[in-house]
Symmetry: none
Subunit: 253 residues, 2 copies
DNA sequence: AGGCAATAGTTGTATATACAAGTTGCACCT
DNA sequence: AGGTGCAACTTGTATATACAACTATTGCCT
């Protein structure tokens, strides 16, 4: 353990938000607008306050109000027309392309509560299949973890992750309270590639039990292999009930 | 405020000549940067001129130089770090995330035989759900088509497509041997956006029958809405048996 | 050599101002 | 009534300035 030697990435020990520091003025305006849209107060095609109106309402300069509108326009939430005004876009776009994100981010973006329940955490034997997936040689270890993600205390995704243990220092494998092997590896060498495969399957008994679904519920299963320059870092299988979870992608051509 | 000082109708001295619109200053800077990156002058991770340097080089204000850098950052071409500088992104993370392609392309890429079987082809009544999905007003028609895609004579995907018929000339709706409504629309106005939602479901009886699967087979279902500048063009639902079909995405970060 | 503090440089946020360019609606005139 | 033109409003572009927050380097001190 060597005491405090390698705390390393101390900044975002926890979830991704954690920006309590400073609510920039334009983010406040953005939130104000988004809330009005989500609540239905401003329906599709409704006119939103002009830059000058926002300038007065929030007592900011026009460029600040403008930035809020501009940001939301680039997100596809608003539409602007020179001379006419700014309007609510006819469709609120999805989460951007399809960068299959951490489900914790998605859940907290929806304003829901996210919990992660560590089920299993151990070294396992290397099967032939794993050796291929992780591109392993002989005598290398694999670290297996199983995490159940809960959205508002309801199971939403089971994450089964296999990490190439030879890339992780021994002491880290003993204690994951500070940092997971995956986080460690991405801090040491940036993860440069990821391959996803998306399937519809019937989950096995173990998964069904964890997700509290019956065995006939179709599940969306994402298999992800992650690379760094050191080689294949991890293989993860994310299984979610099809009736509770879906992937979205908004592609602008 | 200003009385009648500005006639504002274009003085016709040089009206006809030089109708080259107006390259905004920040676009010139953006082009300059992009050219240097594309030519290899500035490799990956290279430092690009700071805002102040660009300010001097191009004789613009810092906010103008900043906008150029900001735009390119949002496009994923540059990476900025407060205090450190602006750098060429290690890779342009562009498009090919998951551009859900025509299944016919995929099948022929696998070297297999693709057939498309037209099952249904008719105008249908506009339900409330369709009106929302296609952003329709009253009295507009919807054209519905159902196509079964076969890979080596085996059903692989059922495509159910709803097209906003008011955007398609009448004569085209009579005969699709030459061109489908969707192809017509994409030739008239380029399709600029597409939204996909990916789910795992159990298909209804009709779909199961066409795909020759039993009702307990989980299916991957992609719902796609396609836009052009004229508005929502079509809504398509692509259903495939989960054991025969999957989506892949290779993401280079 | 190692640790620490100051410093210069860079990006982030914010304000105030000015004019250009496009849209809409009203008032006026024919 | 109908068209015309102007005025008000809106977004787009651009400049100048100020301070905050962060990074990397320099150089001093122990």
């Amino acid at each position: 353990m060597t005491a405090n030697s390698t705390v390393h990435t101390s900044n975002n020990t926890n979830n991704s938000s954690a920006k309590k520091d400073k609510p920039a003025k334009y983010t406040i305006i953005k939130q104000f607008i988004c809330e009005n849209i989500e609540s239905g107060e401003w329906p599709q095609n409704a006119k939103v306050p002009s830059e000058n109106e926002l300038t007065q309402q929030f007592d900011v300069s026009r460029m600040t109000a403008r930035r809020a509108l501009q940001d939301l326009t680039e997100q596809g939430i608003l539409v602007r027309s020179q001379g006419a005004g700014t309007f609510v876009a006819t469709f609120k776009s999805q989460s951007s392309l399809l960068e299959i994100r951490n489900i914790s981010d998605e859940i907290s973006e929806r304003g829901h509560q996210h919990k992660a329940k560590q089920l299993i955490l151990r070294s396992i034997a290397v099967t032939e299949e794993l050796a291929i997936l992780l591109n392993l040689k002989n005598n290398e270890h694999v670290f297996y973890s199983e995490i159940l993600h809960l959205e508002n205390d309801e199971p939403i995704q089971l994450e089964q992750r296999y990490v190439n243990a030879s890339l992780v220092p021994e002491y880290l494998l003993q204690d994951f309270s500070q940092i997971t092997p995956h986080e460690y590896l991405s801090s040491v060498a940036p993860l440069t590639e990821a391959t996803h495969e998306i399937e519809a399957v019937l989950a096995n008994e173990n998964i069904c039990q964890q997700l509290e679904i019956n065995s006939s519920t179709p599940c969306l299963q994402v298999k992800r292999r992650t690379w760094s320059k050191q080689g294949v870092v991890s293989f993860a299988m994310l299984t979610s009930p099809g009736d509770k979870y879906r992937l979205g992608s908004h592609l602008v051509i």
